[in-house]
Symmetry: C2
Subunit: 521 residues, 2 copies
Amino acid sequence: MATAEQSNTEQTGGRRARGGAEARRQARQKPPIVQNPYIRRNIPLVTVLDEEGLALMEKNADTILQEIGIEFRDEPEALELWKAAGADVKGTRIRFPRGLCRSIVQKSAPKEYVQYARNPDRNVVIGGNNTVFAPVYGPPFVRDLDKGRRYATIEDFRNFVKMAYMSPSIHHSGGTVCEPVDLPVNKRHLDMVYTHIKYSDKPFMGSVTAPERAQDTVDMAKIVFGEDFVQKNTVLTSLINANSPMVWDGTMLGAMKVYARNNQASITTPFILAGAMSPVTAAGTIAQVLAEVLAGASTAQLYKAGAPVIFGVFASSISMQSGAPTFGTPEPTLVSLACAQLARRLGLPFRTGGSLCGSKIADAQAAYESAQTLLPTLQAGTNFVLHGAGWLEGGLSAGYEKFVMDADQLGMMQTLARGVDLSENGQALDAIREVGPGSHFLGCAHTQANFETAFYRSNIADNNSFEQWEAEGGLDAAQRANKIVKRMLADYEAPALDPAIDEALQEFINKKKAAVPDSNV
Amino acid sequence: MATAEQSNTEQTGGRRARGGAEARRQARQKPPIVQNPYIRRNIPLVTVLDEEGLALMEKNADTILQEIGIEFRDEPEALELWKAAGADVKGTRIRFPRGLCRSIVQKSAPKEYVQYARNPDRNVVIGGNNTVFAPVYGPPFVRDLDKGRRYATIEDFRNFVKMAYMSPSIHHSGGTVCEPVDLPVNKRHLDMVYTHIKYSDKPFMGSVTAPERAQDTVDMAKIVFGEDFVQKNTVLTSLINANSPMVWDGTMLGAMKVYARNNQASITTPFILAGAMSPVTAAGTIAQVLAEVLAGASTAQLYKAGAPVIFGVFASSISMQSGAPTFGTPEPTLVSLACAQLARRLGLPFRTGGSLCGSKIADAQAAYESAQTLLPTLQAGTNFVLHGAGWLEGGLSAGYEKFVMDADQLGMMQTLARGVDLSENGQALDAIREVGPGSHFLGCAHTQANFETAFYRSNIADNNSFEQWEAEGGLDAAQRANKIVKRMLADYEAPALDPAIDEALQEFINKKKAAVPDSNV
């Protein structure tokens, strides 16, 4: 059952708008943004492995860590730390005594943590029964119906941040919502982080492409939140990918080290296309993922005991005919569900899934695959959902229309997670008594009393008659989404930002940009 | 984990084709149809209510049955039977002592039953851990990309039966796959039933539009299976809808009576658009559905103790703005999952879901909504899934391309239901040892050994690069499905049917048609 808090918060927007005739008129013109709080899941977890299966996966992960070990490349300090912690270090290969990584993680990694936003109403709790949705991450291309597919720019980046800000069930502004390739590689992180701060008030992610860029992110966060606050609290959750199979590289470890030592969170994520980066079977993939996460998450604890770290997995597989990545297929669903169980046993927050698809456009393939990824993501009890909206083409492209469609699905997931309301109003026995056999519930008192909140209202779905739909142009879902994109970007208003902070940020960025020449590495 | 039987059966098609160079050449030209057996689910059930919630729903259903009662219209025999059984019958309103319907159902209704097909390999077990997928039911219109939307004809009906026959994960031929409006209403059932028998060898459904048409279906089944066999075994599963709220009408009861007294199965199904036929809340809808099913299923047992009966629900809701039906939204998912739990407690097989959508075309809306209905349908442990493929426009239209797309999703559900293979081959530790850190699994021995069966292979998804996809015409999923439709119908070959049976069927049909004038009621 939903808590009173959830129901109230999710409805205040509509009520707030009713301050009189003028307020109502304005509300009709530009409806207020009703932001939903992050999800407190109220439905049972979905699982795929029993106790025996989970213990077997843990045993196999320990075998991988002990016998084969993990490569730690270009990060000598990690090798030293692991030697001191009792691991067997030969060159860059580290072999771990059975149970060592797990005990290090369980000794100090938090089971859940608060990620603070510059607007305290947007703070999120990552872990436990909670789910936080974040947008797409990483695409070098964008696509919309007007201009087709093209390289992403900082303007696109800004647009996706704005749309995430305006989407009620996107709780987090994300990170590289698209890659602004019009800016030099060694400086674009400054504009990206600034954009998240300036154009949204939701929590965001930091740069991970180099340790010094991670440090820039932390320094900019200090300007916003204050130096002391950042040292004591988590204001960044950043994506640290393993180089699967069984490699952690210096760039990622270096960024993780910066974040961990500043008490900021890392999502240690094996990026898996099963069949290429892991075996072609679910059980083989699951054990390997667990081994890689155990090695990465415990390393974060060696860098700084107590630093928040998430058990992440990007689970997909490849086409055996072509080697191309595939999405929305059943095998990665099994991997994600099992890994969520293993994360809970380990005691870490969990990240997987999103609205993944291989389709190049926002068609039926995109939607089937995204839905078949997203629903199990929620059901698994995933705490942090990257790629919640906008993902196209195996992550190569961020879709404007796809973003709006996915955001609608995220709203449905938020409603689903509330479960069945068993209150007296939910039971509705009086409505059944009032209506009786052979009549209908359209106008009954209970229906009227619950009119505003009765069912989730999609902004994309066309449920009109065929005739009406045809008379209105016979648009498909992508064409309708295109109109919503334009309306959102036209209606967008930036959240207030203290001008002194804004100025300090710009000063920091300008100084950083002036210090070194542009470079594309 | 999958049984050996499943894995083998699902792979024999590929192996059978390898009888030599000539066989291989033929197989390349026209791949053999590999039929998957019905699903034996091997993943945990997904639930939404705990013991307390379930008991509350049962209590409320009993309150509805006792206080408000159910209307039984135009079926005097049912009123007599219920009087004799101890119910309070006033006019056409029957009020049931608490627990009476449940005890009648539990005394004689089977928990599962075999529905026989004319090809014994296609027999299905309905109930228990099994799931059977059947195609769309009921649309008066059809749609494809070539000719758009139009009234359905018997040729369309034949085409959908052929496509269901050729779809490996459609285990049942269904019933009114579309409504052949070019044939007179009082005779078209004869052609429909004949088409299922002639053009498929999968199990099928009977006519329910009048008791005498149900009897014609039984008589035709006797020609195929033998009179004695039909009296002792179930060869028909037919759709008996309640007239919600809280009405069972004479047409449906009359058809159910014919089927029950011939030991044939009925799916007693409240057809619910919540907000119109039931309260706007999930818990209110769930209790009402249970009450309606209890009344209907127990009536079937009064007609004939032991007749198979399924707990059915068609769960959807309406748009509060327009009153139009909506699909793929979260509230009906909660209703379906809860009703599945209640069906198991009652001890009846369960039907819900399918690939439902409100979209007029096979676009992203159609796919999101269908996937959001289908996956929970499988997870609920649904035993009989009507509308598994082809549903468009709230059931008003059967889509050719949509059918092919949905059938692909059904294949994914079949794979998902197999769960995680924890065998030694599944664990793949040797593959991980062979490959080691920093390499890839593409050519390793384990990948090669599992190449044929590693991942589900979609026939719709395009996973190629953007450049290749564009070079091949930049088709969307519906356009690719259109090509598959044409190939399927071109490749179709009817399963053998004993010419004596065929002749006897035609003779029966001709005699029936000649006996009365055409009529459209």
